[in-house]
Amino acid sequence: MDLRDTADEAAFRGELRSWIEENLPEELQGHRGGAARFEGEEMRAWSRALHDAGYAGLTWPKEYGGSGASYTHQAIFLEEMARAEAPPHVGVIGLGMAGPTIMTHGSEEQKARYLEPILSAEEIWCQGFSEPGAGSDLASVRTSARQENGHFVVDGQKVWSSFAHLASFCILLTRSDPSSTRHAGLTYLIVDMHAPGVDVRPLTQITGEAEFNEIFFDGVRVPAENLLGEIGGGWQVAMTTLLHERGTLGFALQAVLEVQVRKLAALARDRGADPLQRDQIAREWIEAQALRFTNYRALSKLVKTGMPGPEGSISKLVWSEANQRVTKLALELLGPDAALAEENAPYGGYWQHQQLRSRGNTIEAGTSEVLRNIVAERVLGLPKSR
């Protein structure tokens, strides 16, 4: 046990910190890369800069254009990016989900075709998993892929897809066997977002912004070589994607929470806090530290054994509920000013916006209910609830 950076880690952190200071454009500082406020050009330029400096796809193998770095470096990268309030590489879905899935299940042709443009931000990816009738219950996917003359014809609707309006490709989970139910008969496809019959519509959310999209597929022809894995083997491929979605996500979240708590403390210093509010602020600071060191424990186990520890499964659950409490507490500190919006509100409406956005945190990337089931069943070994 040694909670300090090793010499190598300290050197990497130091170089990275100076690199971000020198290269992060001022207008991007504070942006979390939410698709809503970006049309993509400035984000692409920033992403290219990250790639040129070797920071995109840190843990990707060198043969695919990555840096072959350790998970520890990836964790440091995520921490430093969050601390500098730098937006992530625009290829969030490509780097974290599509790329690793292609590396695991893709053909050599697919790896050669798709991986490099993800790193260089030439091609942005989106994810087509959730549907109006398939949220937490992903296995009830209905979007169909019919085989016809050596290609697939896709019909259906996907929802909650960020970056779809910027994306070149979509990783799409479809039902290829109409007589199948549940996990069987699913097929995983790579779909060209510019193909005829693909229609992307923004979905306005509780904050008034449109970070996510709906995607409609109407007779979209997908070439046979865009199949990822086996026909009917889509569920296994999708599990690889979701495993990577939750992989090192914890580190990004924890670092973001620390920034949020730091801002909460700054708000309390600016506007004052009564003893009960001070108690709550201390509580949130302590919980942020608890999350940080829980992530360190999980990471250390991953680095040493190649398997993530069970502690890691609680990261997103803890973060999402903490972020909801922290943002609500900030509104309480604002008092009657909490009712104001945007330019009329203190700090440009930052906290009002954050608080509303935080309600999505316990829903996106696995609802808290599903995550509690996962902890109960897979970590505690309780009998399955369904």
Binding site: M1, D2, D5, E9, G30, H31, R32, G34, M97, Q127, V159, W160, S161, F163, A164, T207, F212, L249, L253, Q260, R262, K263, A265, A266, A268, D270, R278, D279, A282, W285, I286, Q289, A290, F293, Y296, S300, K304, E311, I314, L317, V318, N323, Y347, G348, G349, H353, Q354, R357, N361, A365, R372, N373, V375, A376, E377, L380, G381, L382, P383, S385
Partner: protein, 329 residues
């Protein structure tokens, strides 16, 4: 950065769990023979020359086993105040100590000698009358001392900060051990107890509180070992994080242990409410830990002061965009 236990620490933890399962009420001499009383005492004084992290590993298991004896008061609390030759007696299992730093003195029924804080130093208290008081947690007696004279001067009062940090970190770690055992009982019960034809762990009204209990416990453990590591570091190069880490860990872990025990009692139903079941004893230890030294509220007030009152020069640095996972689909 490495937040795993060494193979030696893992082995120590296993040894401790096995030994305490077979010997639930070990004597001070037996603990000394195992090398536990001298874990962090220098080798030239007959100890193992290890750190507070190894002591923490033991404290977690001692908490889990609801050990009754002067280990906490001697090793976690009083040790930093004692000079080398007195430490040697502890390593050898010849004496145990407690420290009167408040009106209620821990382990007063079993500790051989008493140290007392007075003026600018810590002294041995001689010739005092002891009164052991009845406590809700029968495994952790406290008492009051009356009369007596300060005898040998043991240490400068400067050592009190280290004592405070060790005490808080030790209580946090003990709380984790208590909570783990309560959670183990609750999980086992939820797996095997059947109602309406199913094991009750099937019902999410039962399983989700258990998932939350596990979550609280793991967070508490992360904080507690962070605090233990800071305390261990502090003996070498005055780790400036040690005071706040110890306060944060104790504030969180004590509350977590109380909550986990309450969940475990609820999951057990009627049997969890009986004197016969061990849960009541785990619960009372958790409550003892919460009340001893400083309550969670008091400690959070300290944390808040260090966050909010210390450096008002930090800029707010507000920005405009949401915290988002921006993935999904």
């Amino acid at each position: 950065m490495d937040f795993t236990f060494t193979p030696e620490q893992d082995a120590l933890s296993e040894q401790a769990r096995g030994f305490l399962a077979a010997n639930p009420e070990p004597s001070w001499k037996e603990l000394a023979e195992l090398g536990w009383t001298g874990v962090s005492i220098a080798e030239e004084d007959g100890g193992a020359g290890l750190t507070f992290v190894e002591e923490a590993v033991l404290l977690e298991e001692l908490g889990r086993a609801l050990y009754k004896g002067p280990f906490f008061s001697t090793v976690a609390v009083t040790l930093p105040a004692l000079p080398g030759e007195l430490r040697a007696e502890i390593a050898a299992g010849e004496t145990s100590w407690t420290l009167a730093f408040g009106p209620l003195v821990p382990d007063l029924d079993t500790a051989d000698r008493i140290a007392i804080v007075g003026g600018d130093g810590i002294y041995e208290l001689e010739g005092a009358e002891r009164e052991v008081l009845s406590t809700t947690d029968e495994t952790r007696p406290v008492g009051v001392v009356r009369g007596g004279e300060p005898g040998r001067r043991l240490a400068d009062s400067g050592v009190l900060e280290e004592i405070r940090n060790r005490t808080l970190a030790a209580l946090a770690i003990e709380a984790c051990g208590v909570a783990r055992r309560a959670l183990e009982y609750a999980i086992e019960h939820a797996r095997t107890r059947e109602q309406f034809g199913k094991p009750i762990g099937v019902y999410q009204a039962v399983s989700h509180p258990l998932a939350d209990a596990y979550t609280r416990l793991e967070l508490a453990r992360s904080l507690s070992y962070w605090a233990a590591w800071c305390v261990a570091q502090a003996t070498e190069d005055a780790d400036e994080q040690a005071p706040i880490a110890a306060a944060a860990a104790k504030a969180f872990a004590a509350e977590a242990a109380v909550q986990v025990c309450e969940t475990a009692i609820q999951v057990h139903g009627g049997i969890g409410f009986t004197w016969e079941h061990v849960l009541q004893r785990l619960y009372k230890r958790a409550l003892w830990i919460e009340s001893f030294a400083a309550s969670s509220t008091t400690l959070r007030a300290e944390v808040a002061a260090s966050l909010l009152d210390a450096k008002p020069d930090q800029a707010s640095g507000f920005s405009q965009t949401p915290v988002s996972l921006t993935q999904g689909g």
